[in-house]
């Protein structure tokens, strides 16, 4: 008798649970609609990240063609050789990408990257912001295909920020100028892309 009562209670609870689930589904849809809902929860940035990687790879292809003419410098005691190769590679890449403009590589990912930079900035204590600002070059107008000014320091990119940005191949690096994100070719010293968008707010 007791077993029967328990079974009845369980059946009632199960029925209530099913009803609640059905009501809870949008538009009273059946469980067949679940895969659509799951698809929507996939990282919306995934496609933009993939496209960004493709654009980086395309840049590397262009770069590879240029480096056929200016092969990598082996270690040398003659800094003139290093300097000449850097300048030649930079010019070669600029020529090969003569029509490149700001945002070509960052592309639709720009909005996300701007937010990452801004959020990272806002997450930092004031003293940290001050220390970063004291190092970052200010007031430079940098354009794609220009060399990064040789006498201007390459300000440190905070590791926490780097960890949130898409990984880059060894040939490229992110840099900050006036809290704007740049893509720089490490050996050619050429600016590959500049993040366009709202000027980040400056700290007092």
């Amino acid at each position: 008798m007791l077993k029967l009562r328990r079974w009845q209670v369980m059946r009632t609870e199960l029925a209530l649970l099913c009803s609640a689930l059905c009501i809870g589904l949008p538009g009273g849809r059946s469980l067949e609609a679940a895969p659509v809902a799951q698809q929507a929860s996939v990282n919306p940035l995934a496609r933009e990240m993939t496209e960004f990687k493709k654009r980086v790879d395309a840049y590397l292809q262009v770069r590879k063609a240029v480096t056929q003419k200016y092969p990598e410098v082996k270690e040398t005691g003659n800094p003139a050789k290093i300097h000449e190769r850097e300048v030649a590679l930079g010019k070669g890449i600029a020529m090969a990408r003569v029509n490149a403009k700001a945002g070509d590589i960052f592309g639709p990912l720009s909005g996300h990257l701007l937010k990452v930079v801004e959020d990272d900035w806002n997450s930092r204590p004031r003293a940290d912001q001050k220390a970063i600002l004291s190092e970052i070059p200010k007031g430079l107008t940098l354009k794609v295909n220009q060399p990064y000014p040789p006498s201007i320091p390459l300000a440190t990119v905070p590791p926490k920020l780097l960890a949130q940005l898409p990984m880059l191949p060894e040939e490229l690096e992110y840099r900050l100028v006036d809290r704007r994100l740049l893509l720089r070719d490490r050996d050619a010293n050429v600016i590959v892309d500049v993040l366009v968008g709202t000027e980040p707010k400056r700290a007092e």
């Binding site: 410098v73 082996k74 270690e75 040398t76 005691g77 003659n78 800094p79 003139a80 290093i82 300097h83 850097e86 003293a127 940290d128 220390a131 004291s134 190092e135 040789p150 006498s151 320091p153 390459l154 300000a155 440190t156 990119v157 905070p158 590791p159 926490k160 780097l162 960890a163 990984m167 880059l168 060894e170 690096e173 490490r186 050996d187 010293n189």
Partner: protein, 314 residues
Amino acid sequence: MRVRRLVLASALFLGISTLGAQAPTSKPAAPAPAAQAAKPAIDISPPREMDSVRFGILGDTGTGDRRQYEVGAQMTKAMQIFPFEFVIMLGDNIYGSERPQDFVKKFEKPYEGILSQKIPFYASLGNHDDPTQRYYKPFNMNGERFYTFKKDDARFFALDSNYMDQQQLKWVEEQLSRSNDRWKVAFFHHPLYSSGARHGSEVDLRTRLEPLFVKYGVDIVFAGHEHFYERIVPQKGIYYFTQGGSAKLREGNIRVNSALTAKGFDTDNVFMVAELGKDSMQYQVVSRTGRRVDSGSLPLMPEPKSADDKPRSQ
């Protein structure tokens, strides 16, 4: 005995320094350039142990100005008494323009006396350095931004603290985990701990690196960036030195009463020499005028490092 003294005195008089012979070493002492021998003595002691790993430490050097040359001259003198085998550079190796002539003016000339003795330099990159410096042979970076090398039972890890990306962090962990060396020494530009009023501790970088250093038993960390000398109170079983005052000087920049400071010196430029022995490290810091401003002996810490030893301050 008298004859021996006489010979020694004659050798000194002739300008042949025998100071290097005071060192209890089986390693060859570098011969002194004749011009150096006549200069006033420098306040530095010879190495204490036989066959220890001896090296010099320079940071923030590449100005090409008088101060850099004066520190270079003192270090050349020091080599006669403390015959170091190599020099590590803590970044900002070349300030400003990096034309070929800048490498001569800001590196080759100031350290001519050391380079001429075939003493190798091992550089790390600072925020003023173009990463293409890694191709410059006298910096011995093997074309890499970050690299490792071994000297007897000590392993050195040169890191690029300007750009601590995931690839580098992965490499650091791999290399540290592989090392069974008695001494593990990391050097790079930005200090994880500093009492500098201008920059201070690089907390962001510390969050990434310190857990690896503690986990894999790094013993000593050298950094620059701050243009002064500071020995930090040991943090989590690791000795930290900031030595970014080998050419530039940020006078009076060490915060007074900082809980981090074991010893600070911010009134003149310096260089440093160190010796890694069987159970301890000896260090000496010498100013541009040849005055010893810090020295001591630090025991090799037992492993693993104590995770409970919390840092005292930011």
